[in-house]
């Protein structure tokens, strides 16, 4: 049997580009990237094996993403369709993003057609169920969510090569969901946990977000933002990248007001782009932090 040039196959598959892009555009998320790398490797090796006539079942790629708010679950899921399509696992590059409302009906007999319709829409691509634990409501035994779960399970099992299902939600609630639906846990091959971000990663995320919107920190503003993150992370309801985005949105508001108030002075394009420390330090987070400190 002829030798197989894995290196050449790796290059022509374009996997390298997919992984590099993932690295460049998503900060942190080590375990997530590692798992995507593993999946990519498996799919490539699988293709090679098929080429030489070694048959195997296509791998199951249903996934569950768990993690705290703002850790990038939805962002990665949106990417997943693109990644799996480029790896040649799914036929079309489309993601159908749904929540409980889209799957569960309002009256008897409404749920099954509704769930099936969504599943058919997602075929060939990725079905992303955000906050999947809402599907199961143990406190109401007549809840139609269970019916939807049964159809989902059946399709996940029988039409594995037609669609990939990704569930996402907060870790503790997803765990409770899986405990009460053991069939779900075993049908999902990849349970990926999204870790919280480190302060340095959050800063990098902030700079990426600003760059995308053609803003940037002045050096003192950058220092102020580091202090802001320190203070904000101590406070309740910190939701990682989402909190960063909200903080930046508010800083943009304050910058606009500052420029507006100084409208009799000449304005440079530089000034339109730059966030100054004043915009960060005006945040309520600092007064709360100072008040809490003895």
């Amino acid at each position: 049997m002829a030798d197989i040039d894995l290196n050449a196959r790796f290059h022509e598959s374009g996997i390298g580009a997919v992984l590099a892009q993932l690295d460049a555009e998503l900060v942190g998320l080590k375990p997530v990237k590692r798992r995507i790398r593993e999946i990519a490797a498996l799919l490539l090796v699988d293709k090679l094996r098929r080429d030489v006539g070694l048959t195997a079942q296509p791998p199951t790629l249903h996934m569950s993403f768990t993690g705290n708010p703002g850790t990038g679950k939805t962002t990665v899921a949106a990417r997943m369709a693109d990644i799996l399509h480029r790896l040649g696992y799914i036929r079309s590059n489309h993601l159908v993003s749904v929540t409980r409302d889209d799957l569960v009906g309002q009256y008897i007999g409404h749920t099954a057609p509704k769930t099936k319709e969504i599943l058919k829409k997602a075929m060939g691509g990725v079905l992303f169920i955000d906050e999947a634990y809402y599907l199961y409501r143990p406190e109401n035994e007549r809840d139609y969510g269970q019916e939807s779960i049964e159809i989902l399970l059946q399709v996940m099992e029988s039409r594995r090569d037609d669609l990939v299902v990704i569930l996402a939600g907060y870790a503790d609630r997803m765990n409770r969901f899986f405990t009460s639906n053991p069939g779900f846990r075993s049908r999902i091959a990849h349970h990926i946990d999204f870790p919280d971000y480190e302060p340095a990663e959050l800063l990098a995320i902030a700079e990426l977000m600003l760059q995308d919107q053609n803003y940037r920190f002045s050096p003192p503003a950058r220092d102020a933002f580091v202090r802001y993150l320190d203070a904000r992370m101590q406070q309740p309801h910190f939701s990682n990248a989402r909190s960063v985005r909200n903080a930046l949105d508010r800083a943009r508001l304050r910058q606009a007001v500052r420029l507006f108030d100084a409208r009799d002075q000449p304005l440079t394009p530089e000034a339109l782009m730059t966030l100054e420390p004043g915009e960060i330090l005006a945040s309520r987070v600092f007064t709360v932090a100072a008040g809490a400190a003895p």
Binding site: H94, L119, M123, R159, L163
Partner: protein
Amino acid sequence: MRITQGTFSFLPDLTDDQITRQIAYCQRNGWAVNIEFTDDPHPRNTYWEMWGQPMFDFKDPAAVLYELKECRKVHKDRSYIRVSAFDATAGWESVRLSFIADRPLEEPGFALQRQEGDGRSIRYTTRAYATDKPAGDRY
């Protein structure tokens, strides 16, 4: 008598694999795929019953094929089933492709009827043997 109509009417019936690829072609062009059935084979019977709704937002042939199989569970060997693709683009707004996907096991064909008119003129018409029986019992 084997009824033919629509695209590929000169070819043998398409296999599921070929149907899948035709559907993929339609979806690539952004056409809505429909499944229709009838048990009245008359060529002027253009409005067939629809199976479900037009599938505007399905991106993958697997979903349409699923519906086709559901339709076959009810109508296989008892009706004609056809797949058609509707182009909603302004200016077209019509069916761009349609083919018969399933047909009854036996197709008895048509009788030619003559009607004597004034003088020696004769009017011709065809009548499907199948329509002698009531709808639902034809095949």
